[in-house]
């Protein structure tokens, strides 16, 4: 455990020693802030109009349904598809480029400890984004009274969604010395996983069912609503474990070749 924390600490330190952490956080804060304020203003506009029309339908328009859910359902995921490659692209690519991979792999720690350390470091940086999200959402509690419980599911969903992408991005980063390549490939893969469920719009049957099941979006919707479904939990945890496993295989293969 001490080794895992040592690696995680090193990763975090290099995120914050370089502009990456600040850039990711700033970009996220701006985009998330803009969408949040837009949804909030739209909500206010709508409720005022409803009240002007005689209070019809007002009870149905909750903050959870009209502000928080759309925020999670669409925008955040897309922003994260873009930002997570920036977090993961350096994890192994940079170690390979600078030769520090030799230090890590010849140290008396296991490959899995290194991988988990890196994952943990990346996840910690990612968690700051969740904190930013909820800093915005906390404003709603000051001026309104949304339900708090769905937020727990939404936070968990965001964490799992990010964790799955981080694990896959880390794996992709093991293949190259070039961070840009790792970043671009990761983004392409993430986007593909995100839109995989489009197939259900024009086709039915086994293939489309499988593709749709594999899509990140399919499993995020319930979380966005504030519902924790076991099958979504299993899906995200499986992707995380798979990503870590593939990373381990890939690092093992590094030892076989140059």
């Amino acid at each position: 455990m001490r080794n895992i924390l040592a690696i995680a600490g090193k990763e975090l330190r290099s995120y914050f020693h370089s502009p990456i952490a600040y850039l990711v956080m700033a970009v996220y804060a701006v985009l998330c802030g803009y969408t949040f304020s837009s949804f909030t203003k739209m909500y206010m506009f709508q409720t005022l109009r409803m009240q002007a029309m005689g209070g019809m339908g007002v009870p149905n328009m909750t903050i959870n349904e009209y502000v928080i859910r759309p925020l999670f359902e669409g925008v955040l995921a897309i922003v994260l598809l873009l930002l997570i490659p920036m977090i993961t692209m350096r994890l192994y690519a940079e170690e390979k480029r600078s030769g520090t991979i030799e230090l890590l792999l010849t140290s008396p720690i296991t490959d899995l400890q290194i991988i988990l350390g890196k994952f943990l470091g990346a996840l910690t940086l990612y968690s700051t984004l969740i904190v930013i999200t909820f800093a915005y959402l906390s404003v709603l509690f000051i001026y309104g009274n949304p339900f708090a419980k769905p937020l727990i599911a939404q936070a968990l969903g965001l964490l799992l969604f990010g964790g799955a992408l981080l694990a896959l991005g880390m794996w992709i980063s093991t293949f190259t010395k070039n961070q840009i390549i790792a970043g671009v490939v990761s983004f392409a893969v993430f986007l593909m996983l995100y839109i995989l469920n489009w197939v259900t719009a024009y086709s039915h049957g086994a293939v489309s069912a499988v593709l749709s099941y594999l899509s990140l979006t399919t499993h995020f919707d319930a979380f966005a609503k504030g519902v924790v479904d076991l099958k979504d939990l299993v899906y995200y945890l499986s992707v995380i474990v798979l990503g870590i496993f593939l990373t381990a295989r890939s690092v093992e293969a590094l030892k076989g070749r140059a």
Binding site: R2, N3, A6, I7, G9, K10, R13, S14, H17, S18, S98, G99, T100, I101, E102, L103, L104, L105, T106, S107, P108, I109, T110, K255, G256, R257, A258
Partner: protein, 333 residues
């Protein structure tokens, strides 16, 4: 301390290392000599566990590198060709990080950082960012990193590359100082380095070991005869005749002469040290002896001989003969 048995490494169809075997005794400094691309780095990477071998086995301090990697790695400090430093960390942060993953106990970490920093002369740059240091400093930070957990075995891949002459001398002194307490393997293609720092040499070319032994031994063995240079003040013909009669001498040739002083090259039978007899012969004849040294082939000559033409008969030293004292310029009378 280190046993390498029949090590082979294939990259696809190319053989990088083929059937390499050697042993290093505890406290010994072994030089790994070969042209670029001979397989030095690959062999070292396998010993450190960075690469896996295609076949063969490596044991470090009794631990098999493939089967018990963690135990083996604990005993090894490794300085790769490019020092594996994180350029965004300060020297101190870096050494603290390496200490932690090398499992230096928390309480000792600070003390160890101080010790290795002092040994490698990087105490004055403790708080500087590594990315802003010169190549020489980075190299020494790399060396400090390799020693942070006080490993029994040190593997140094071209430790003096990129250093200036003064730093090279300092680094060699440092490495020599490690002998005895640490077992060291260092690779180089700079020949004087080997004769200056190593007790034993393994010459490797195209992935195979072509020669092994103490630098002096190698010279003698390859040459087939020993050579002694004698400088004296004496009549050329007489001294040549006199030295011819010394038992063990096969040939005397005049090398150069300046004024009354002449230098002779004396060939002797293999493994036959005749220096004492030569000195006696000169002095007893009433001539003045100025210099007497066994020269042999230079390491450059051996190196070229071994690596440029394919040696059909493999020249390999008998084991258990580390460090037979250097036979240079011994006192006369």
């Amino acid at each position: 301390m280190i046993e390498v048995e029949n090590l082979t490494k294939r990259y696809g169809p190319t053989l990088a290392v083929s059937g390499v075997s050697f042993q290093v005794q505890k406290g010994e400094v072994l030089g790994f000599l070969g042209p670029n691309g001979a397989g030095k780095t690959t062999t070292m990477r396998i010993i450190t566990g960075f690469l896996s071998a295609s076949s063969g086995r490596v044991r470090v301090a009794g631990f098999d590198v493939a089967e018990t990697p963690i135990e083996a790695k604990k005993c090894v400090g490794y300085l790769p060709e490019n020092p594996p430093v994180y350029t965004d960390m300060t020297v101190k942060e870096y050494l603290a990080f390496v200490g932690r993953i090398k499992r230096v106990p928390r309480k000792e970490l600070k003390k160890r950082i101080g010790e290795v920093s002092e040994k490698c002369a990087i105490t004055d740059v403790q708080h500087r960012q590594i990315g802003k240091l010169s190549k020489g400093y980075r190299q020494r930070v790399g060396l400090a990193q390799a020693m942070i957990h006080n490993p029994e075995v040190l593997i140094l891949d071209e430790p003096t590359a990129g250093l200036d002459p003064k730093q090279i001398i300092e680094t060699r002194e440092l490495i020599k100082g490690l002998a005895g307490q640490h077992t060291v393997i260092l690779s180089t293609h700079i020949l004087p380095e080997v004769s200056k720092t190593c007790q034993r040499v393994v010459v490797i070319n195209k992935g195979t070991v072509v020669a092994m032994g103490a630098p002096d031994e190698l010279t003698a063995r390859l040459q087939g005869y020993g050579t002694v240079l004698v400088t004296a003040e004496a009549p050329a013909a007489e001294i040549t005749g006199k030295l011819q009669t010394v038992p063990g001498v096969t040939l005397v040739e005049q090398r150069e002469s300046s004024g009354p002083r002449i230098t002779l090259e004396v060939h002797t039978e293999k493994n036959h040290d005749v220096r004492a007899e030569l000195a006696r012969a000169v002095v007893q004849s009433g001539w003045s002896l100025f210099e007497l040294k066994s020269s042999g082939m230079s390491l450059e000559d051996i190196f070229l001989k071994l690596t440029t033409r394919d040696l059909s008969e493999e020249v390999s030293a008998q084991e258990e003969s580390p460090a037979e004292g250097g036979g240079q310029a011994e006192p006369v009378n």
